[in-house]
Symmetry: C2
Subunit: 202 residues, 2 copies
């Protein structure tokens, strides 16, 4: 009918929604739930802040959707892991790499964020974060358990306790690294792999 309708620039269907999610995830992991506003998201998209409410009813819904997407992304990530002779060691290292990627982008782990802001985060977002934590924990527990049974790994604690240690230290290490000390993640990574009885991949 017409290529440009009214006074606003139309975008491909679903495109704006996807962009909002990306920008929100970025801000959320960089500055926390209360550290960004609809106006900032709207500025990046060159629209008014009210327009964001068309795609997401409120900030709570937006952040819930961001956390839900983290879960989808993690499920996808799990599915693309390669099998191999050092499966468990490789997978743990890849998990640590995945967490470390946050540092380059100036982000923290979403779970760390949720833990810190728990008391002021919308309940629905907390539920998503808890589900993500469970999924990470179960995946790690299974991976560590298998690795020890294989003889790839060697540690004395229970696999689930060790899984919690890996999760907690990874998210804590990212936070320490942000405090003007980017090398801190690597130190934790070394100590963690040594504690798991895994020699570095090279």
């Amino acid at each position: 009918m017409s290529e440009v309708v009214g006074q606003f620039k139309p975008r491909p269907r679903g495109e704006t929604r996807r962009r909002i999610l990306n920008i929100a995830a970025d801000w959320l992991q960089q500055r926390g739930y209360h550290g960004f506003s609809f106006a900032q998201i709207a500025d990046e998209l060159e629209i008014r802040s009210g327009a964001v409410h068309y795609h997401f009813r409120g900030k709570a819904d937006l952040v819930e959707a961001v956390f839900a997407r983290y879960r989808e992304e993690f499920a996808w990530w799990c599915g693309q892991l390669p099998e191999g002779p050092r499966r468990s060691v490789d997978w743990v290292e890849r998990f640590l790499d995945l967490e470390a990627k946050n540092i380059e982008r100036g982000r923290v782990c979403p779970l760390g964020l949720a833990g810190v802001e728990f008391a002021s985060l919308p309940a629905a977002a907390c539920r998503e974060a808890e589900a993500l934590r469970d999924e990470l924990r179960d995946w790690l527990t299974d991976t560590l358990h298998t690795g020890r049974a294989n003889g790839e790994l060697s540690f004395s604690a229970a696999p689930q306790d060790m899984a919690q240690l890996v999760m907690a230290s990874a998210q804590g290490a990212i936070q320490l690294a942000r405090l003007q000390s980017p090398g801190d993640f690597l130190k934790v990574r070394r100590a963690l792999l040594a504690s798991l009885g895994a020699t570095a991949a090279h």
Copy 2:
């Protein structure tokens, strides 16, 4: 001269300032820098929000002072540790107890908070947090190093790497515990002590 001056209730000199610091520390560790306001502090003290600005020039100064006090408290805490036959193991356990105390009070570790909100925290507060991190790391490194030399502890990684692991996992564990899972800290504690080659004091 007079027992009640004007229309406000006078408090002992320095008392209001101290109370503001206490309340701010509580809110800060419970909800983050952007998660509380001067009005909320003022409400608890039954004064107007503007009055807080008499004691602290702005929110940045207030939070800087809170972080500075964490450093003082840690220095005091270090000074009151008892010597003994299991000095290093005991000290590490006491450190973990100190961190765990945050959970009971609904707080996270100040360093975790600073790491998460780093990008939107006043620069002066970040400097204080970095100094606190250095002090914790140095104390832990020394304690772990001594413990391994004593034969109390047994681990293969470098003491400083291990110190970072202890710090990171403690603050991460507190955050995980907040996500409706209070037992998570204990799991990390067990895995950590096992990785340090220390048997639990029970």
